[in-house]
């Protein structure tokens, strides 16, 4: 949609010492790749392309294998997300209680689709499956905070709150 940021994941990103240490620690354990990718995403918020080259070299696995795994799992992101990450639950309980209306409203107000990031880099929109608090359906999670029992009328207020919040990391 119109407000979607076009992104390409080509920046060179330096590998952090912590990450390097983690990879060394896991290097000889069988089945380490997914755990390493989790750590990469934890470190950068997504999986930077240049880091996959480092991981390939350090773990001595082909890049193709890394991308094969990376693209199979929904959890891994290959694009850098916006400053605020909005996750709308699309599990059954939330769907029955109007999760799709909330998603629609968010798409409308942000002018982006699912998995999009706004041009100003303020918001990314994601759909997730059941966050395990179905008792609060419908549920939206913003930067890890759970907002339960919300309606499409709450959307504007939520966006305003997060837009105005100082960035935690920057």
């Amino acid at each position: 949609m119109s407000n979607t940021k076009q992104n390409t994941n080509n920046d060179k990103v330096e590998i952090t010492p912590d990450l390097k240490l983690f990879i060394d620690e896991w290097k000889d354990k069988p089945g380490n790749l997914i755990m390493v990718l989790h750590r990469v995403q934890e470190t950068y918020g997504y999986i930077p392309r240049s880091i996959t080259f480092d991981v390939a070299a350090l773990l001595e696995v082909p890049l193709a294998k890394i991308y094969g795994v990376l693209t199979f799992y929904n959890f891994f992101k290959t694009e850098k997300p916006g400053r605020n990450i909005i996750q709308v639950c699309m599990g059954t309980a939330c769907y029955l209680r109007g999760g799709d209306d909330i998603m629609e409203e968010l798409e409308k107000q942000l002018g982006i689709g699912v998995n999009g990031t706004t041009k100003d880099n303020e918001f990314s929109l994601e759909a997730v499956r059941c966050l395990g608090c179905c008792g609060l359906a419908p549920v939206v999670v913003i930067n890890g905070d759970v907002h339960g029992k919300i309606s499409s009328n709450d959307v504007a207020g939520l966006l305003k709150t997060y837009r105005e919040k100082e960035s935690v990391t920057a």
Partner: protein, 594 residues
């Protein structure tokens, strides 16, 4: 040190996100301010089940049960209850109805429940191993190691009649005996905590509320089958459960309950966590193993079964979280205690995540054989907003839609499969007359199509076809022959798919065709959706109640409404995009939806 009072504050995910953390801080502050620091102990427990009414605070020893407690209520609760010994009536359950209930005695939600799996959830602090031990924790492991041979452990589990709670209901004792029968050497014990059914959170709550019960069970299983290494494969989407497990594993190692020479016996066993990464198919056991091995999570044909050739080609037992949580109790109380609970088909209890259109949503545990009616109308308190029950779905995307006529079916593995559904892992979703069966079936198919790994064509192509037919029908473009085609595709998928995902993906379609054919026909022949859910089939019309206020004209995003002030307005049906805004905005109920 004994305290005068204990405040059990729910620290489950749902309560935490309803300001449960701020509430705990406030309570702590107020307790300090009142000088009660040495008399009152705050315990942050796991989910008490009644998340709908969270955050929940229970005061011991009186057992007072406070619901929907907000941080602002902390002062009154401390001052009134703890200082003056007076119950805060306005925070009790059912206060608004003038029928306040002081303890869980009498609250419908807790009647008929029987807790084995959730025995410690909402009772102990999951981060304190001593709390678990104080409630007979690790007694089962001790008994197994020092009083029983591995064969006797397996025999006990077999005699208990326990069947796997991950969905398929395979007898647990039998599964263990297959792996035990393999030649000695490296073997693995894996716990499946991938919980993929969207709309279910039984395993999450168990792990968050009582992580040691799963660790203890894995050690017992390891001893029984001869494995010294265990893995817990857990969804990355469950950060709190992961943290609690990490804490629990550390504590168990420190106490000599995991690691080398457990409790000074000759048995070594340790556990590692492996994170899932958002793929439903990885709940399937062979895909799960591929994922632990660091590969794409694709299923492979069985046999060979994992018990023979599993993780890194070694014999491996995979059990679900809930299955495992039963084990310590079975060992310490004995098979004969356990196998008196439940039905002949399925012994024990089942945990359900009761959600959808019921008044009391939450996490419940009932003996097998409880009927859907008891669960939905007694524990669940009936349908929300006094509406009408339409159907229930068990087993999530792999399950079937169950109509009203089967409300009195006693639930167990056998009875549910007889009526075209499955037990599944414990999602129980209730629908009312505003839910459209075709829309629900479409929702599930969208899910399975999205999650199909794509390895085999019946699932990859068949699922997409079914989804397309359902979309067509819901858009009002369906044809009668679509029904027959859907039936054929469903059957092919069930028979020819490689793994359980594809084999069961058509269940929502097959069961809805069986029990709700009239709704399909209505959508196809009359282009009508009686629930008003299928947007393209709705028509909005303005009736004579219209006084010509022009509100609707101003809000319609596509200028489909015309009319002059103080005269009746009309909707141009060809332009209308059925957004429903006019319907919501009209203050005179002059717009109808059909």
């Amino acid at each position: 040190m004994a305290f005068k009072n204990y405040l059990l504050v729910c620290g489950g995910t749902a309560c935490d996100s309803s300001k449960g953390i701020e509430l705990t801080d406030e309570l702590r502050k107020e307790i300090d301010a009142a000088g009660l620091k040495d008399d009152v102990q705050i315990v942050r427990t796991g989910c008490l089940g009644f998340c709908e009414k969270g955050p929940i605070v229970k005061v011991l020893p009186e057992d007072t049960f406070y619901v929907s407690v907000k941080p602002e209520d902390a002062k009154e609760l401390v001052q009134e209850h703890l200082v003056k010994g007076r119950i805060v009536d306005r925070l009790l359950y059912n206060h608004e109805q003038g029928k306040s209930l002081v303890t869980v005695e009498g609250i419908d939600f807790y009647q008929k429940q029987f807790r084995i799996v959730l025995r410690n959830c909402g009772v102990i602090d999951p981060d304190k191993i001593d709390d678990y031990i104080a409630r007979d924790g690790y007694a089962g492991l001790e008994k197994a190691l020092f009083e029983m041979t591995p064969e006797q452990v397996i025999d006990e589990v077999s005699r208990s009649g326990l069947r796997g709670r991950g969905g398929a209901g395979f007898p647990t004792g039998k599964k263990w005996s297959f792996a035990a029968a393999q030649p000695k050497g490296e073997k693995y014990m894996v716990c499946n905590a991938d919980e993929g059914d969207p709309g279910a959170y039984m395993d999450r709550s168990t792990l968050e509320g009582d992580p040691h019960s799963v660790l203890e069970a894995m050690a017992i299983a390891g001893y029984a089958i001869g494995a010294s290494k265990g893995y817990i494969y857990i969804r990355a989407e469950y950060p709190l459960a992961i943290r609690r497990l990490e804490t629990a594993i550390e504590a168990a190692r420190e106490y000599g309950l995991l690691g080398e020479k457990i409790l000074n016996s000759d048995f070594d066993f340790d556990i590692e966590l492996r994170l899932g990464a958002g793929a439903f198919v990885c709940g399937e056991e062979t895909a799960l193993l591929a994922s632990i091995e660091g590969n794409r999570g694709m299923p492979r044909p069985r046999p060979p079964f994992p018990a023979v050739k599993g993780l890194w080609d070694k014999p491996t037992v995979i059990n679900n979280v809930e299955t495992l949580a039963n084990i310590p109790v079975i060992i310490s109380k004995g098979a004969d205690w356990f196998n008196k609970i439940g039905t002949a088909d399925t012994r024990g209890t089942k945990v359900f995540a009761l959600t959808g259109k019921v008044n009391n949503t939450g996490l419940i545990e009932v003996p097998m054989g409880t009927t859907l009616r008891e669960i939905i109308f007694e524990i669940g308190g009936g349908i929300k907003d006094g509406r009408e029950f339409k159907a229930a779905q068990t087993g999530g995307p792999s399950g079937g839609i169950i109509p009203r006529e089967f409300l009195d079916t006693p639930i167990d593995f056998g009875s549910l499969s007889k009526i075209g559904s499955i037990m599944g892992s414990g999602g129980l979703i209730v629908m009312d007359d505003t839910d459209c069966i075709i829309d629900i079936a479409k929702f599930y198919l969208e899910f399975t199509v999205d999650e199909s790994c794509g390895k085999c064509s019946p699932c990859r192509i068949g699922g997409r076809k079914l989804q397309n037919y359902l979309s067509r029908i819901s858009d009002g473009r369906g044809q009668l022959k679509d029904i027959e085609n859907m039936q054929k595709i469903s059957e092919a998928m069930t028979r020819a798919s490689l793994c359980g995902l594809g084999q069961t993906a058509s269940n929502p379609v097959q069961s809805s065709l069986k029990y709700f054919m009239d709704e399909y026909l209505e959508h196809i022949n009359d282009r009508k959706c009686r629930a008003g859910k299928c947007k393209k089939l709705i028509t909005y019309t303005i009736t004579d109640k219209c006084i010509g206020c022009t509100v609707c004209t101003r809000h319609c995003p596509v200028a489909a409404i015309t009319g002059t002030v103080k005269e009746k307005h009309v909707i141009n049906q060809a332009r209308c995009i059925k957004c429903g805004i006019c319907y919501e905005k009209c203050k005179f109920d002059a717009i109808t939806r059909s």
